[in-house]
């Protein structure tokens, strides 16, 4: 599934059967490349983060959770940067570890079952998620 398709999907509480938020973005972490958190919008509380482990399911029509309490604020500095959008992967420049730029990330393909990032997509390439070395405020770094 592509990030571009999965964005704006509703987050539904299966206990109350109500819509509790909307997916605004994805926080990818390396080693192995995976969706670690979802960034949410239209939330009722203060927090906007949702850990991948706390999902019930990432379905074709909605993301499901068992309780609203799993939607939470950042727990550490990295999560705070993620919540602020500083670590957003979409649109970020890709650099190889040899210092060659491959253009911005236009989309990301991931496995909705596991959260595994299978490929980073640029205008010209599909880069295997296994090549992801690091993701910071400036660049997405991939092995050469």
């Amino acid at each position: 599934m592509l990030f571009s398709q999965a964005r704006k999907r509703d987050v539904v509480n299966t206990t109350t059967a109500t819509r509790v938020a909307r997916v605004d973005g994805f926080v990818v972490l390396p080693g192995p490349a995976r969706v670690a958190l979802l960034r949410l919008g239209k939330v009722s509380g203060v927090g906007t983060l949702l850990s991948w482990e706390d999902l019930q399911g990432f379905g074709p029509d909605a993301v499901t959770v068992a309780s609203d309490t799993v939607i939470r604020p950042a727990r550490d500095a990295v999560e705070q940067r993620a919540e602020d959008g500083d670590l957003e992967i979409m649109g970020k420049r890709v650099l190889t570890e040899r210092g060659m730029e491959l253009g911005p990330v236009t989309d990301v393909d991931f496995d909705p079952e596991t959260g595994e990032v299978t490929s980073l997509i640029t205008k010209t390439d599909a880069i295997s998620g296994r090549r992801l070395v690091g993701l910071g405020g400036y660049a997405v770094v991939v092995s050469a």
């Binding site: 650099l95 570890e97 210092g99 060659m100 993701l135 910071g136 400036y138 660049a139 770094v141």
Partner: protein, 195 residues
Amino acid sequence: MTTPAPMLLLRASELAGRPVVTLGGELVAEVKDIIFERTGGRIAGFTLRNPGLFSRSRKDSLPWSGVHGVGRDAVMVSDETVLIAAKELAPRKQAHNADVLEDRVLTDNGQDLGRVVDVVLHSGTSLDVVGYEVQASEALGTAGRRVFIPLPDTVAVSGENLIVPATATEFVSEDLAGFGAAVGAFRARLREGAS
């Protein structure tokens, strides 16, 4: 695991202003200047400045040993811990990018080939000086044009005049793309001559 890097030639002037980026994707600094080792045609490291328009020089610098990779678009480092104090990198007056520019290139039989306008680097397991871009003199058939002159693998990069073997004139290139092969051929010739 990784495939060998292709032969990558860069002009030293292109590296100034290049971002220094960690493997974690964070911008650390920008390259300010390139510091050459006094002999041997190698790069000792880079002085740094803070990124941005009104950037300031920094007191730390990047030694070559801390560089993970140098490409056309960035200088990669594992993390910020590889930086050292600038005075450790260049303790005294060091050969310096700017010092080589405008120097005259003389062959060992006394021909003036022109003035240095840039330094050509090869980025591999180390970053080596492999040639000069020169504003060609009358001695070359391409007077007034910019050409690339290969260097032997051991050479002092600074001095009043830069002395190159006369055979270097046979391996002059007019474009950087063809220059990699010229450097290889020139150095092979020198090794033949030495044996």
